[in-house]
Subunit: 272 residues, 2 copies
């Protein structure tokens, strides 16, 4: 997907919501377990109920891998459904991959070609030649981990590297990579005030912001420091939406919750 | 697998060779493409020919993911074969995963339980709570990326963080994690002299050393600086062994190549 198409979808839906599909057999409504493919049945219902209010879906790949082959089948079915029914919606493989050149190319093929994701999350630790193979794919986007929303982010990401924190170094250095115009960044909402500094380094880039809701981040804070004239934000909510209810009306509840967030986003967009 | 069992296997086989199963349909002998599952057919033949000379196998997960469901089937069959025929051999999922707590637990289940790997490679960027979920599994091992063998390693890993390079900070900080006795580390052979400093921080830990052979590292150099009284090394070779020949005799050639490396290792072990 071209970045312009993502922006125009955001303007049209008045939303920059990404719904995280962290689908867990222990958490989905019990009546779905009778289905032949409960994970896909759940995802389909969630997508049907939430798609008017969001612009992106982000399956968390770990949740699918944990179920082995069955999990991969559910993921492929979910992607096939999204690509067929909602080709305008941006898809993110939350995979946090990253490896040496020829291996990264394999991962890129797996997610961009085999499964037709628009984007993938990547860990920066191995540097340039682990990231650039992903950047070679036209109209696909690579979302580099910069500052994550977990406690462990303080182990290394915020440590000082030659005058600035490691996550800022990641932002700065990655701008020199070939194809860096296809980069986006993960920035946790639990550290919203960091966005002020981040915008000095990447003033235009899209940021994928997890941690709003369940993890305690505030949408208003994120927008205050992070929004750009082209919005430049995708704010993710996973558990807060998809597990809004564990009853038979789970999809309706998820839709309501997504709509509620969309309305808050509409107010933020009105300020632009 | 208990670390003692790995050490006793190393002593028995006089080898600390790990064979990397980076299986690529474009590189395997053409006659195998007629098989129902060419990747598994290739892996099985390589395992049958090399197992007397190596103590570990390391499927590079990207190569399997790139083929979607078929790739995962080949990986599961390979692991089932290894677990059945050679339960004494150490298995490494070269996956380079790492995510927030509940997601890391999913990955741990996928690789340690669903596929029964003995170990997995993990990227350290997200810190403590992304690593510890893996360390909770008894007799399973987590191999943290420290210093990788690619050029991009110099982007961040070797940068100075409060007085020492980031990869040393990763080694030091990870020693404070719960279950850190189940940690091993990836250290590229192309930077063998760094091993001297690394051994000051992790004197006993096992190091997984890629980059010998195709990537230019020297086995003698690695041993000079990295070997411990319990060996403490797993040296990986992928392409140099598995693609030693692309003809019908490919497995025999792979076996010969593995044996040749085993003999070099035997000489190094004799020096202990």
């Amino acid at each position: 997907m071209k970045i312009e198409d993502l922006i125009s979808q955001i303007r049209q839906k008045k939303s920059f919501l990404c719904v995280g599909l962290d689908t867990d057999l222990d958490k989905i409504p019990k009546h779905l377990l009778k289905e032949e493919d409960p994970i896909f049945a759940f995802n389909k219902a969630i997508i049907d109920a939430t798609h008017p209010y969001c612009v992106a879906y982000k399956p968390n790949i770990a949740f699918y891998e944990a179920y082995g082959l069955d999990g991969w089948k559910s993921l492929e079915r979910t992607m096939a459904y999204l690509n067929e029914k909602h080709p305008e919606i941006f898809t993110i493989a939350d995979a946090k991959r990253g490896d040496i050149g020829n291996t990264s190319t394999r991962y890129a093929k797996a997610f961009f070609e085999t499964m037709n994701f628009d984007s993938i999350t990547i860990a920066p630790y191995m540097g340039k030649d682990s990231v650039e193979p992903f950047l070679e794919f036209k109209d696909r986007h690579t979302i580099l981990l910069a500052l994550t929303s977990n406690q462990g982010a303080f182990d290394f990401q915020t440590k000082n590297v030659g005058g600035q924190e490691l996550y800022k170094e990641v932002l700065s250095v990655s701008k020199t990579y070939n194809g860096s115009d296809r980069l986006m960044y993960v920035v946790g909402a639990t550290k919203a005030d960091y966005l002020l500094d981040i915008r000095k380094i990447v003033p235009e880039s899209f940021l994928l912001v997890p941690g709003v809701g369940a993890q305690g981040g505030s949408l208003q804070e994120v927008c205050k420091y992070g929004i750009t004239k082209n919005v430049g934000l995708l704010v993710n909510s996973s558990r807060g939406i998809i597990y809004a209810s564990a009853e038979v009306d789970f999809a309706k509840s998820a839709g309501k919750k997504a709509q509620q967030i969309q309305r808050e986003m509409e107010m933020e967009l009105a300020k632009l």
